[in-house]
């Protein structure tokens, strides 16, 4: 078995050497990574317009070239949901396959299952829970957006998120009292809005810890 494998390994370079052009040999046996790209990586109209105006400079790359390819909309409902949870400082979850996520949308907790219709949801401060089999991971997210794509991929982008067990309840109570007080004594509209936002966040934190 090993000998056969060794023989195969040895035969490959000789086959390669036997063929005439070196360049074509390489592409026949080892495709370059660029050959495998299926999704469009360049906006052709942009490149052409660029070349007309500035022929001497190479056109800059656009995010299309760096985008990870997304799966197309499947015909039947897939068994699992793919979740991407991004924060400015880390990608908490990237391409994780889960059963369900519950996102804190502005209209309330929204459950997302595979095959959910495409939705754009704005998030309010609240609890995000990720259900995988019997494990439930809960995060408190500050706010952000959730995109649910028809191909059962969900993107959640938030500004800040902490796992629930890292929140200190005494600080939450203190903050809630302080900002309720500030809200009542606020004079300008701006201060009122600030205090209102803080009160919302702290009450959401409170309910997250208790509920």
């Amino acid at each position: 078995m090993l000998q056969k494998a060794a023989a195969r390994l040895l035969s490959r370079p000789t086959v390669a050497a036997a063929s005439s052009a070196a360049a074509t040999m390489l592409t026949k046996h080892r495709p370059f990574s660029t050959d495998l790209a299926a999704a469009p990586t360049l906006d052709q109209t942009f490149v052409e317009a660029w070349r007309k105006v500035v022929p001497n400079l190479d056109p800059p790359k656009t995010p299309l070239s760096f985008l990870k390819p997304r799966p197309p909309v499947p015909s039947s409902i897939p068994p699992k949901l793919t979740v991407n949870f991004y924060l400015p400082y880390s990608s908490e979850l990237s391409g994780k396959e889960v059963d369900m996520v519950i996102v804190p949308a502005t209209t309330g907790q929204m459950g997302v299952l595979p095959g959910h219709v495409g939705t754009i949801a704005e998030l309010k401060p609240g609890v995000l829970s990720v259900h995988e089999g019997n494990d439930v991971t809960k995060y408190f997210v500050s706010s952000g957006f959730a995109f649910i794509h028809p191909n059962s991929v969900t993107d959640i982008i938030a500004v800040e998120a902490v796992p629930i067990d890292r929140i200190d309840s005494s600080q939450v109570q203190k903050g809630l009292v302080e900002f309720t007080h500030k809200l009542n004594s606020a004079s300008t509209d701006y201060e009122k809005a600030e205090a209102q936002i803080a009160v919302d966040v702290y009450s959401a934190l409170n309910s997250a810890l208790t509920g």
């Binding site: 317009a49 660029w50 800059p60 760096f66 991004y86 502005t106 209209t107 957006f145 500004v159």
Partner: protein, 323 residues
């Protein structure tokens, strides 16, 4: 014996007189050379020694700068790589439309504050100028928002009237999302735009930086494009969760997209700056090392030549006395 030594020295003098790689050195030291009719006196070793000392100091400084840039790069690279997930969902949802036709484009150029970082700032400025040109025409106009001192200096020379806003000293405190979102808010409040084009250098590796152009559209243009169909046509099929209207959510969405994309762009550019500085300082120290080698050779030659000349004078004087 002395004649042989003289002949040998004659051969060694020739390189000093003929054109050679240390031409520059010679031209700067020319005043100290004395030329007699028959032979050439040499550069004083003192001058060469001073030059060697200064080149050695430069080498030390550039090596230190390289180490500093390497450590800063390490710190910021992990943060930049973590922020890479941030823009992907937006491009997946809204697509990427760099060739969109709008009336008012704002080109946001991201550059560094400090110099000595290779050619990345010039590249960014060249690309911004080209994007500006692409988007200027009879019924459309473009303007600049500049982040960073280096691009400001370059663009203020010929496009002063097109600059709307400049921001410098971004990296006084370590970059964070709050700072960038305040910046983004500033830009959104003070600048009218239909499309924002952000020009920055994406960090690919320590030696490679890719100039990149990201587009962020205003909510009105997004609506226009969804109605027109095409790339953003699929956006209509998405339901809006919540009681708000589509345009309200689009407003928040584009503002959030702008701040996320800016954050990623600024982090990547900072990484590229440190990486470019590392490689610039590295080649600079290497050049200084080579220069030092050549100077050392010159110094040794000069020293030996002066010793030999002394010896010759003594010997010929002594032999003349003997008769």
């Amino acid at each position: 014996m002395a004649m042989a030594a003289l002949k040998r020295e004659g051969k060694r003098f020739a390189p000093l007189i003929s054109p050679n790689p240390i031409n520059v050195l010679r031209s700067s030291l020319l005043p100290s050379q004395e030329e007699t009719s028959l032979s050439v006196r040499y550069i004083s070793t003192q001058i060469v020694r001073n030059r060697m000392k200064s080149v050695k100091n430069i080498q030390k400084i550039t090596k230190a700068m390289k180490m500093v840039a390497a450590s800063k790069l390490r710190q910021i690279q992990s943060k930049a790589e973590n922020s890479r997930g941030l823009w992907q969902p937006f491009t997946a949802l809204l697509g990427d439309t760099p060739s969109i036709d709008v009336k008012k484009t704002v080109v946001i150029t991201i550059s560094s504050d400090k110099g000595l970082c290779g050619g990345i700032n010039s590249t960014s400025v060249k690309i911004s100028r080209a994007v500006h040109k692409l988007n200027s025409g009879p019924d459309k106009e473009a303007s600049y928002v500049i982040l960073g001192e280096k691009a400001k200096v370059q663009l203020i020379r010929d496009s002063k009237k097109d600059i709307e806003l400049t921001m410098t000293e971004l990296q006084k405190n370590p970059l964070n999302y709050t700072q960038i979102s305040v910046l983004a808010d500033d830009i959104l409040k003070n600048v009218q735009f239909d499309a924002l084009k952000i020009v920055f250098n994406k960090f690919n590796s320590v030696v490679s930086f890719i100039p990149t152009l990201t587009t962020v559209l205003s909510p009105e243009i997004v609506e226009r494009e969804t109605e027109a169909g095409g790339k953003l046509g699929a956006l209509d099929s998405y339901e809006i969760e919540g009681g708000e209207t589509k345009s309200e959510i689009l407003q928040n969405l584009t503002e959030f997209q702008f701040s996320c994309v800016m954050f990623n762009a600024v982090m990547e550019n900072a990484c590229s700056e440190q990486g470019a500085r590392m490689s610039a300082m590295d080649s600079s120290s290497r050049n200084a090392g080579e220069m030092l080698d050549r100077l050392t050779l010159t110094y040794n030659r000069t020293r030996q030549a002066s010793i030999t000349t002394e010896l010759i004078e003594i010997i010929s004087g002594a032999s003349a006395l003997e008769g």
